[in-house]
Symmetry: C2
């Protein structure tokens, strides 16, 4: 018997950005399960970024298994790596396909989304995540140009091909891959309003997800942190396509 089994999920992620934590938040919100977004609690209640730093340092006995957030506590289990967290919790949330080949494909799509998200980040931080954007602005202009002209269209073509004419990315029901695809589309619309547009099929998938009652309520709530220029998707007009000389 696991006495922690019925405790709500605890998510550890930077409190001021959507970032990679948002893929986890969207799954928990769609499923309507209770969770604690630990670092968004006041420091007096054990929250703040300090809660994450404590975990990364291995204080409290989890040492030293985590390289970076998001980290999720699910009962007795502690899990890091966004895609893996989703893979582990999605079946219990009703957000994973039942059949094995589809479940594997769903995770494959999620991992490709993770690769894409890493490239989105590196477009504005091509030299080092430890340096300010302002200290790598020239390189960011160069990298973002090839990102928007080559990589973005290639990834979008791939995701569009996986979706095809189906209602959802994998199988016949909504899965975490759809929620993550929505997040990518929302991020692109914010960061690169002048970049090549996703296909109509992808855009309408995004709309279908946004209209799910639990997702709509979440997006309308204060729990949804607005996009900003601290996160992965950043709106720097000088990097977007139409603003270039």
């Amino acid at each position: 018997m696991d006495p922690d089994r019925d405790k709500p999920y605890e998510l550890y992620y930077w409190p001021e950005i959507q970032g990679r934590g948002e893929f986890i938040r969207l799954a928990l919100e769609e499923a309507g399960v209770p969770y604690v977004d630990v670092a968004r609690l006041p420091e007096s209640e054990g929250g703040g970024s300090k809660a994450i730093v404590r975990l990364l340092r291995g204080e409290g006995g989890q040492s030293p298994l985590f390289f970076a957030p998001p980290i999720l506590r699910a009962g007795k289990m502690w899990i890091a790596q966004t895609s893996l967290i989703l893979e582990v919790i999605a079946p219990g949330l009703g957000l994973a396909p039942q059949e094995e080949a589809s479940r594997v494909l769903c995770q494959q799509v999620q991992l490709t989304i993770a690769d894409f998200v890493a490239e989105v980040h590196d477009a504005h931080h091509p030299i080092a995540s430890s340096l300010y954007y302002e200290d790598q602005k020239d390189e960011a202009r160069r990298r973002t140009a090839t990102f928007l002209n080559e990589r973005l269209p290639k990834f979008l073509r791939h995701f569009d091909g996986v979706l095809g004419d189906k209602e959802w990315m994998v199988g016949s029901a909504l899965s975490y891959a759809d929620l993550s695809m929505f997040q990518v589309l929302a991020g692109l619309a914010y960061a690169f309003p002048h970049a090549p547009r996703p296909t109509p099929r992808l855009l309408s998938l995004g709309e279908r997800v946004a209209k799910r009652p639990n997702i709509a309520a979440y997006l309308d709530s204060k729990r949804r942190i607005p996009f900003n220029t601290k996160g992965i998707f950043r709106r720097y007009p000088e990097l977007d396509l139409a603003q270039r000389s």
Copy 2:
């Protein structure tokens, strides 16, 4: 009944580099199972890079589910994404921990290795993988400096902490995470002989893996493609630390 079940695994990966495909090759070699390294067959037998391009284009009915190799055919199943391939095949190869929490941790370590490998690649290609190294050499010098001084030590500290004083990375037996860790250590020794060294614990893990009979035989065979400056780990002396002004 799956009539393809007993067919050997088919690996699709670029034939001239170790790259991400090497993590799969090491697992198959350690397990001693038969596999076909399809793109290394002659073109007259359906091999060559063309075999991969056909898959990526979706010719042959698998369309369009793959963004990039490695891609593995395992019976009826087709899987892309290095970490996922390992997660799916490792239990059958005897290379995954039995207990659920350890199995999840094993995949978490593999995903962190994948993140590290992506950073190794981007150190020499910080602007675009579609451009030659020579066309992004200045940026590569800048990125590699912060990579070797900040990111590499941080990742190595993490991996050392996961290993601790145990014999293997996760649990009490060899798993695919150990094989992958070996590959990372081998790649670092080739590409950055003057960079901060891995800890003695990690180095001796690498030696333990290299001495496994099947791995030793593989490393000694022509099946092991030598490291070169087309792969992920590249030896460019001007990027390594001791060569810098």
